[in-house]
């Protein structure tokens, strides 16, 4: 029942983006970084997690290009990189438009069917 975009080449980075986004902790980290850059210890604070565990998540996010490191030597603050998210969103938007396209065609078809429906009855109240 699903029409996929499977034949459209998906860049590796897009896969990495979706994989990175598939985890709730990583999404929470991104949401935090959306408010401004933060160090690893600052990022670890709201989570019941060790800094190494947070660092692991950050590594996944960095590999996906979603997070980068600042230069400030000691703190090395992480910051959000908006572009991969925008690219991923473009794909999602495209997916949504495809389903919307399908359903709008279905709307038009149903309007025709309704006009020709022999069992046209008012819904019972």
């Amino acid at each position: 029942m699903n029409v996929s975009l499977r034949r459209t080449p998906a860049p590796d980075r897009l896969d990495a983006t979706f994989m990175a986004l598939a985890d709730p902790t990583r999404r929470a980290i991104l949401a935090r970084l959306a408010r401004g850059e933060a160090s690893v210890s600052e990022l670890a604070e709201p989570f019941a997690m060790s800094q190494p565990a947070i660092s692991k998540h950050l590594k996944v996010l960095e590999r996906a290009g979603l997070v980068s490191r600042g230069r400030a030597a000691q703190r090395r603050p992480r910051r959000l990189e908006a572009r991969p998210l925008a690219e991923a969103n473009e794909w999602l938007e495209r997916y949504r438009r495809i389903w919307e396209g399908n359903f709008q065609r279905l709307d038009a078809l149903l309007a025709e069917m309704k006009a020709m429906d022999p069992h046209r009855t008012r819904p019972a109240r």
């Binding site: 029942m1 996929s4 919307e100 078809l109 149903l110």
Partner: protein, 165 residues
């Protein structure tokens, strides 16, 4: 951007992806549009430029169905499965497997129709065999992954916009 009707996509649990859409037509007509091959191929087409040269859909449970799409370059994409339940005019359940498997095993698609005052709500639930299979779908950045991620990503982008004017 104005959408005539909203399309809702969600991931209610580890295994499922749910798509909900309302139609301005009574349920028996929506049901026919979902199960009649000549009607299915008029709307279930995907991206612009794709057609559906093969559309076989049985009217009884226990029988196979088959869809093949083709684009202008001649690229084909096929999928099919078995109709598990056919309950007019409210419910169709099928298995789903793509020719080029991109997630392990089969998924089960459940289409349910509820009519209220001449309006029909269609709920499509895609259920994967395992969380792993669904996550592969998510990771692959494909259709379902994109759908599932959409709401979350949207939230994130809203937050980003708020945080970085």
């Amino acid at each position: 951007m104005s959408q005539p009707r909203t399309l809702q996509v969600s991931t209610p649990n580890d295994l499922e992806i749910v798509i909900v859409r309302e139609f301005d037509a009574p349920r028996h007509l929506v049901f026919e549009a979902l199960r009649t091959p000549e009607l299915i191929r008029q709307w279930l087409l995907g991206p612009p430029g794709w057609t559906m040269p093969v559309c076989e859909f049985p009217q009884l449970a226990g029988q196979p169905y088959r869809y093949v799409w083709r684009n202008q370059q001649g690229t084909e994409m096929g999928m099919g499965g078995t109709v598990l339940e056919m309950v007019p005019p409210e419910r169709i359940v099928t298995t789903e497997r793509f020719d080029d498997a991109w997630y392990p095993g089969e998924a089960v698609d459940t289409m349910e129709l509820v009519e209220r005052g001449g309006q029909t709500t269609l709920t499509i639930t895609v259920r994967y065999e395992s969380k792993e299979a669904r996550d592969v779908a998510l990771r692959s950045g494909m259709e379902t992954g994109m759908a599932a991620g959409y709401d979350r990503l949207d939230q994130l982008l809203i937050q980003m916009a708020a945080g970085k004017p």
